[in-house]
């Protein structure tokens, strides 16, 4: 007879010395590991709960300004530098790793309206209420030398916004007209206007570097091409936009922060309808900035919170607020996709994590694997009601919570009255059912 009985050699299964790692033989047979789905579901619940426990996004507060922070500028090459301009004309350069101010310049008399760092990183521009554009050196002057701008340009009217070209030595300002300047000249090389009194902000497209967009006071957004002599087209909305930001990954999308508590993402080619309407703020949205991945953006609002939205979603995925943070005027997403900086009315700049539960610093290989696994589990089970309820839960300050409830009730009432009173009693087809996207655009003018 031929016989073999299972007998394992312990030497193959037990480690030789205590300095070795343990041996773990694997068998991926599904019958040996039953209940795959319920166990994964339990792990996903645990991961979601842990994420809420570990969500501590606030990192630091940069203290030092003596008046409200009005604008911020990201350094184009250094991740640890941030520039900010206050309402008393002061410009401060901060070191984000040490959380301290490296340099202070009394740049303007009056507000600092806008700041931008040149693409090479050696100098930056600032505009102020004293109708000047000043170019400063990025390096601090030596000991005993006074702070002097490299260049000063006097304008005729107040400038309200500033942005620099990505590659060439040109920059754009907006005030009563949108001007394109060459760095060497002291008069603008081109001026765009379209019968508008004033513009509030101007932005260059980071990908298609010859395109510009600006927000005008007649509730419109105007698109320009630097090479042409006339503006391209404009879209008129129901309320005015404060600022806009281009998507750094998709050249034709830009998001504008509007006064009617919403943000609108437009496709530059089809301005008739916004691609998405982002509705979550309860007061005017003051600033918006995209993440360098182009997948999310952060918005700052007059209700004292900042929200992070995924680019195609209607609702925000995250809201950051503090009792001490008052109306948030400007916000920036850092270039390494990890941090969000917000400047607010009460003279502080706050540094937040973009992913609230992320562990910063160097992670070991096992930590990275575990974090990736948990992330994938949360994505897989994100629509299950119990998991969704935990993942969505955020604490809101009382004023935002009550305002949001009021707004829901108001919106519901408006919709109900439209459907029952207007639509039901009109000739069929006379009163169309408009989607949320179609409601906010008044006209597109070429």
């Amino acid at each position: 007879m031929k016989v073999k009985v299972l007998s394992r050699n312990p030497d193959d299964y037990v480690r030789e010395t205590k300095y070795d790692i343990q041996r773990v033989p694997r068998n991926y047979d599904p019958t040996l590991n039953p209940f795959e789905v319920p166990r994964e579901y339990t792990r996903a619940m645990n991961a979601t709960k842990l994420e809420r426990v570990l969500a501590k996004p606030f990192l630091a507060s940069l203290d030092g300004h003596r008046d409200a922070v009005n604008c911020m500028a990201k350094h184009s090459t250094s991740l640890s530098t941030l520039l900010s301009g206050a309402c008393d004309g002061e410009v401060k350069v901060w070191n984000l790793t040490k959380h301290n101010c490296v340099r202070t310049i009394q740049a303007h008399e009056g507000f600092v309206r806008g700041m931008v760092v040149r693409f090479c990183g050696t100098s930056f521009y600032s505009i102020g209420d004293d109708k000047t554009i000043k170019q400063w050196n990025m390096e601090a002057p030596g000991y005993g030398v006074e702070e002097e701008p490299i260049n000063t340009i006097l304008g005729k009217t107040v400038f309200t916004g500033l942005d620099h070209h990505q590659k060439n030595g040109t920059f754009a300002t907006c005030g009563q007209t949108v001007d394109i300047w060459d760095e060497q000249r002291s008069t603008p090389i081109r001026s765009f206007s379209w019968g508008v009194e004033s513009f509030s902000s101007v932005r260059f497209n980071p990908v298609e570097t010859e395109l510009l967009a600006s927000c005008a006071s007649d509730r419109s957004i105007v698109l320009y091409d630097m090479r042409e002599s006339m503006p391209l087209k404009k879209v008129i909305m129901t309320m005015r936009s404060n600022t806009l930001s281009w998507n750094p990954m998709e050249a034709f999308y830009f998001t504008c922060a509007n006064e009617d508590y919403n943000l609108y993402t437009y496709d530059m080619r089809y301005l008739e309808k916004p691609v998405t309407v982002h509705m979550d703020h309860v007061s005017a949205v003051l600033d918006v900035d995209y993440s360098p991945t182009g997948r999310e953006f952060v918005s700052a609002s007059f209700d004292k919170s900042i929200r992070i939205f995924p680019k195609e979603n209607r609702n925000s995925r995250e809201v950051y607020h503090t009792k001490r943070m008052q109306h948030v005027v400007c916000v920036k997403w850092s270039a390494d996709n990890k941090y969000v900086m917000s400047g607010s009315d009460e003279m502080n700049i706050r540094l937040w994590k973009a992913n609230a539960a992320e562990k910063l610093g160097v992670l070991s290989h096992r930590e990275k694997l575990a974090a990736n696994y948990n992330q994938k589990l949360k994505e897989k089970f994100q629509y299950h009601p119990k998991v969704k309820r935990i993942a969505r839960h955020r604490h809101l300050p009382k004023h935002i919570f009550t305002e949001a409830k009021e707004h829901t009730v108001m919106r519901e009432a408006r919709r109900r009255k439209y459907v029952n009173n207007v639509r039901k009693h009109s000739k069929p087809g006379a009163v169309p059912m408009l989607s949320e996207r179609e409601k906010h655009v008044v006209a597109v003018v070429k």
Partner: protein, 569 residues
Amino acid sequence: MASAEVALKHTHVEKKKKVSERYWQGSGEEKKDEAPGGSHVPGDQPAPLGSQTNQQTRASEKKKKYKAAERHGKKAITRKPDPFPGSAPVPEEKRLKFRRKMKIDQLPQYLTKLRRVVASSQAESEITEKESARHDQLLLQEDAGFLEGDEDEDTCTISQEDIADAVDITAGAKYFNLNLSQFGPYRLDYSKTGRQLLLGGRRGHVACLDWQTKQLLCEINVMETVNDVKWLHSEAMYAVAQKKWLYIYDSSGIELHCIRKFNDVLRMQFLPYHFLLATASATGFLQYLDVSVGKEVAAVGTKAGRLDVMCQNPQNAIIHLGHSNGTVTLWSPNQKEAIVKMLCHHGGVRSVAVDKTGTYMVTSGMDKKLKVFDLRSFKPFQSYFLPAGASSLALSHRGLLSAATGDIVQVYRDVWNTPVKKPYMAHKVHGAVWGLHFCPYEDVLGVGHGEGFTSMLVPGAGEPNFDGLDSNPYRSAKQRQEWEVKALLEKIQPDLISLDPGKLSQVDYATFKQKHQDKVKVLGYDPLARDKFKPRMRKKGRSSTGGVIRRKNQVAHEDKRVSSSQFWK
């Protein structure tokens, strides 16, 4: 001088060895190499010179390839091309084992994003399936046991002593008898890893030992009738169903808990992934105890009298109970009534066993029949007649069925595929069999009987390759602690127990329909309704009626079969 030159020409210096032909190259390649060699005329100079030109052509070709690769900017590695490129193929039947049910087959054309997401996730599943199948085929360490008799020899006539003599010493030591005739017929249980054995004698003797090293962990006498013994999640605690109540003991024999809520317990089953101890009582109650928190989760009144026959389905944690009217009922802690009631036998049901994959159930009854049922469709599969009926049944991981009648234990192989004529093995023990269990990862069957305990060798019963992360018989104390913490974190809540464990991963159509109906009512129109396909009228006479109708018909099947709002029905 000339001869010296000729001699020089034919030396071994600077001459490469002739490469012998491999079987996969064939003789064609050789000829191909020779043809462009140019001046190779048949009947030419003998081997050395001919091979020289061959080598020269090969070398020059290699040089050309190197130069070409360099020109493209890549570093060339001068190595022979791999005759079997890529990884080893895995046959399709092996991959089927790792294939999960892929439900989505036909999606309408306009759901582009969904189709893309489904396609990418299915591609990922295929990669994992291939990797698992390759691991299964090539990287598993052990092979299963087997027993084959000679031409005239029947495997059921081979005795345990013969097998123990024929195998190595460690395997032979796994056949042993414990003579414990004082304390009544013995019930037994193996722990999940298979290392520890728990024995409970009817008259109160309870002992737990590591049966491979024969090291005794504890031995007590509880001074009461012991109905059943069961290990809890690890070898740290076990439960003993005594005459009145349920007791929990430590592995050193210290009584930890006496749970009075669980009275008259006759049989117990432990659900390892839910940390639930299911107990069947003489009063007809099926009670579930969560051993991690120590709370009773559910008490189901079965109203079926004395519950004596119990087993669990390891794939979905459903408890099977056998009754004296021939029915087998299936229970979960979430329902007050049985999920399924099956009539299996004409007389009472004596024993039930479910296999590890959860597809087959084997029952034996008072009508001396042994029946095999398919659990997916609840239909009978096979039916055998046993002259004396089987009082206990046990199924091993690899599908071996052991049936005990009186004091004879018989093992059958492959009960569900082909009708079985004779047993695979048989053994006579010293007393009437009272408990029967296969050891999880060993080729061993434990038999508890009136005269003590016998451990018999059944080659081919145990799963040869265990999963180290699930239950590792060779784990250290540290590994056990880590495993316990992870298992407790992953503990499945009892309200997820149902017939189909994968129910959570399926789309909840009912809720979606309900929500959609509410939305339509609120909005006043159906947001998912799509307009009928209107073919575009082409200019310059290219749009004839026939063409328009043809284009309409191309999409007609989609309109007819599935409209988006009805897709989810």
